[in-house]
């Protein structure tokens, strides 16, 4: 007979006010297999833990049931206590009588009976529990960073700084991300490129960073410590080993009117192109979709002019498989397509642009060389309206606040005044949210020193009239409807997860929230972890963020990855599937259903009727098994069991649940 100890927690009044903890402990002490039961005000506290240790010694316990909160809260705590008491941690179970009982019930009598049910179930289960030892797995000391924006660059630099090899993958031809396209940055008005490009160069020069641009993550297998990642290196049609980045090819390219992705269509690029002059790597790629040669079979102008014979029209996408121990996801954001919000008539009126387009225009290295102009006629705008919360904080589009727009609108208003002294900025806002170091002072400066006119209210409609943009809106402070006749309107559109985030989440096996951003493991205490071990988050792929926050999160994710990668080996939960080779017929059903590739095709040799027989059987790779139970449930021969969740344990637990019902029926 087992010698199980039951410890019933009051959780202050959380449990004790609804559950009669004393009578529960008393009843538990009479359950079969229970050698000792008691209750205490805070079982997780130091004296509570001590009480368990003492009882374990005094009553020679070999199993524990802690009736308290959710195992998500304190299972690690009490497993540790079990280990200290010399009891195998997997012979400790928590009966959740808080979240599953006291918090959701009002009737004291029924809640008390339910709490005892939960304890009876766990006692029956522990009695059937085998001691288990954690699985140790070696760690691959290499990190993968997905996304080469400022968050990804920072993460890669910091991991590399720890002496760990890092692979930085970027899907566009250059690293730098959105930040590389910005003009000056709030709240200090330092030039974005001036502070970012040195980091980009550092990343490309670091001996520990391998840069893969124009490259996408195709597939991710494995688990924490040992991921196997397939990369698709998209064909660049330029041999970067030979190319020296002289630029002759794109100057010669006859097809020059392709709207530049980097300039958000404000400027153009050629078919063979470097997205911007400070790109890293500063070597071109050919865009197959727009290249005349790929369309008609004629041209090859770039090939003719290249002295190093670097152009290679025969190139194809290549696949490379890499092993990494940790993955940092920094896939960033895009903006909500303003054309989806018809009231702003974006696309219909040329002088209605987005904030990012304004950035490219005001950037000294942008297509207009820093001159702010109306796209319709190239004239200098004198009245510019900036619209906050376009698609953000709007129940019709995105409910959330995009966080950075208040600050960059203030910045745009300041930049406008600096470039066109007699220009007037009007800003339609809901609230000005300026939480951040120097942020409040910054928008005040826009307002007080730079003369920006803030109108508290939303814009209802834009339309064009005689070459001007009429902005209709409200000023809720004066209670008046207002109409501004503008030369240029700039929309601060909502930040949304980058295109392809959903697909990336599927590839990585991590979840996204209602708005499509990646889910962190805990909103406060684990902001850069995902629920999947070894996969971390950085930057705006998790929620809208500005540059300082993205950089901080990049460094935080790097610290988490280094913490993992500097270990020799990691321990994994031993609650994995196990095959009974004597009854397995090798049908490979488990191989088909497993999403992690854990069941492997193997063989067993046995002696039957004096003859040696070798036959195929399935074997579980413990390093890959996530313990999800799919193979266990779907094995047609019932030859797979799961450690810690064996049939014996589960049936015993069920029996414990049905006990009260059985007793009631027998009584009648």
């Amino acid at each position: 007979m087992a010698r199980i100890g039951v410890f019933v927690c009051w959780c202050g009044a959380n449990i004790a006010s609804t559950v009669d903890v004393e009578s529960v402990a008393e009843a538990a002490s009479r359950l079969p297999g229970v050698a000792f039961a008691t209750d205490y005000k805070y079982m997780c506290s130091d004296p509570g833990q001590k009480a368990i240790l003492e009882a374990a010694q005094e009553h020679r316990l070999d199993g524990l049931v802690v009736a308290a909160c959710s195992p998500r809260m304190h299972e690690p705590t009490f497993r540790q206590v079990a280990a200290e008491a010399g009891i195998n941690p997997f012979r400790m179970q928590m009966a959740n009588i808080r979240e599953h009982c006291s918090w959701v019930h009002a009737d004291r009598e029924e809640a008390t009976a339910k709490a005892l049910d939960a304890i009876r179930m766990m006692v029956a289960r522990v009695a059937q529990s085998e001691p288990l030892e954690p699985i140790k797995v070696p760690v691959t000391r290499r990190a993968l960073v997905i996304g080469g924006g400022v968050a990804g660059i920072q993460a890669a630099l910091d991991v590399a700084d720890g002496g760990v090899e890092t692979i930085l993958v970027e899907r566009t031809p250059s690293i730098g991300g959105k930040m590389a396209g910005l003009d000056e940055t709030f709240p200090t008005l330092d030039c974005s490129q001036c502070i970012l490009t040195p980091k980009m160069v550092d990343a490309s020069r670091s001996e520990f960073i391998k840069l893969y641009t124009y490259c996408e993550v195709e597939k991710v297998d494995g688990s924490v410590g040992n991921f196997k990642v397939t990369l698709r290196k998209k064909a660049k049609y330029v041999n970067h080993e030979l190319c020296n980045g002289c630029g002759d090819c794109f100057h010669k390219c006859p097809y020059k009117k392709i709207p530049s992705e980097f300039d958000y269509g404000v400027g153009n690029r050629t078919a063979i192109y470097v997205p911007f002059p400070q790109a890293v790597p500063n070597k071109p790629v050919i865009d197959r979709e727009t290249c005349v040669f790929f369309k008609t079979g004629k041209c090859r102008a770039c090939e003719k002019v290249c002295l190093r014979n670097a152009i290679d029209f025969e190139q194809e996408d290549e696949f490379e498989e890499i092993d990494v121990g940790a993955i940092i996801v920094a896939t960033g954001y895009d903006i909500l397509e303003p054309a989806e919000m018809a009231e702003f008539r974006y696309g219909a009126i040329p002088d209605v642009i987005t904030g990012l387009q304004f950035e490219r225009m005001s950037s000294a290295s942008g297509p207009t060389e820093g001159k702010i102009v109306r796209p319709s006629d190239g004239e200098e705008p004198k009245v510019v309206v900036f619209v906050h919360c376009v698609g953000s904080r709007d129940e019709n589009y995105k409910e959330y606040c995009s966080k950075i727009c208040c600050m960059y609108n203030a910045k745009h208003a300041i930049i406008l005044k600096h470039r066109i002294h007699d220009a007037q900025a009007y800003l339609f806002y809901i609230d000005v949210r300026a939480g951040g170091k120097g942020y409040e002072e910054f928008w005040k400066r826009a307002c007080v020193e730079e003369g920006a006119e803030y109108l508290r209210g939303r814009v209802s409609r834009l339309y064009d009239e005689n070459g001007k943009v009429i902005v209709e809106g409200q000023d809720t402070l004066s209670g008046e409807q207002v109409e501004v006749v503008a030369d240029l309107v700039v929309l601060a559109t909502a930040m949304v997860p980058a295109k392809g985030t959903e697909e990336m989440a599927r590839i990585l096996g991590v979840s996204t929230d209602k708005d499509g951003f990646f889910n962190e493991a805990h909103p406060k205490l684990r902001p850069v972890d995902t629920a999947t071990g070894g996969i971390f988050l950085a930057g705006a792929c998790q929620a809208p963020k500005d540059i300082p926050e993205s950089v901080a999160q990049g460094s935080a994710a790097a610290a988490k990855a280094l913490g993992l990668l500097t270990k020799e080996e990691i321990t994994r939960e031993p609650t994995v599937a196990v095959v009974d080779p004597f009854i397995c017929t090798g049908c490979w059903n488990c191989v088909t259903v497993c999403p992690f590739g854990a069941p492997e095709k193997s063989e067993i040799t046995m002696t039957i009727d004096g003859r040696k027989v070798t036959r195929p059987v399935s074997e579980i790779n413990e390093g890959k098994c996530e313990g999800c139970g799919l193979c266990v449930a779907s094995c047609p021969g019932n030859c797979i069991d799961q450690r810690g969740f064996s049939d014996d344990q589960v049936y015993a637990e069920l029996g414990g649940y049905l006990e009260r019902l059985r007793a009631a029926l027998t009584h009648e």
């Binding site: 008539r345 209802s460 339309y463 009239e465």
Partner: protein, 296 residues
Amino acid sequence: MKFSYYPGCTLHSTGAEYDQSVRAVCHTLGIELVEIPGWGCCGATSAHSVNELLAYALPAHTITNATEEAIAAPCAACYNRLRYTDVNLRENASLRAEVEKALDRPYRAGVAVRHLLDIIANDVPGEEIQAKLQGTLGGLKVVCYYGCLLTRPKKVAAFDDMEEPRSMDRLMQLCGAEVLDWPHRVVCCGAAFSLSRTDIVRHMTGKLLTSALRAGAEAVVVACPMCQSNLDLRQPAILKERGVRERVPAVYFTQLLGLALGHSAKALGFRKIMVDTSSLLARVEAGREAPAEAEG
């Protein structure tokens, strides 16, 4: 197709030509309308400004009286109040209990409340309408005006894009009108302020009219008797105030559809429109003489 018909107060009075043209068009298109027995006022703006329970109970009374599975409402304000009530009574059990107490009978949930434009534009196949056309609108230049209540709020009323609806545009194109783009298709006309704050209505409707004229419209096509009356009755005064000499009649979509389907201007109540429609009708007449060129 059979619908419970909810004309609302206006279609029995100032909007009689809307009622006339709705019945004519529906008859031709095979839409059977059964007027709701004992229907009452929807409460309009007044009810929800003074008493919330009344604002729900009035439409609930009419919905519960419906004999068919779906209600066809031609007035945008009626449609909006009925939809608003239905959505809220379905979602809010305690509100529903309160309303049922006021009604003294159970609320009939499950009746679909539809605007007549939605039914004609989205339920009747375009080919079917096209087959019944007796001529075209002869390229009459129109702007489609949906008003503010037909598609808002999105979660309650929108059967089309909230900000850029197109169902009426498609219908008018089908009838051979040249539909012009304009930015004011869902902007408020001032509505019931017509009586209490005419200055507001003059300002708001004035914007609509000048925008329609600037676009080059020969008619503003409407789907709401309130909008129609503001655009029509006050037009001479408003445009005179703004120094504009041209006029642009505001007509119901059912009137233009009716013309294309071969009904007479008289049967469609055109004479009840205050702004002169004679040149509009002459244009359509000319189009009728040279039919067959159906667009699609």
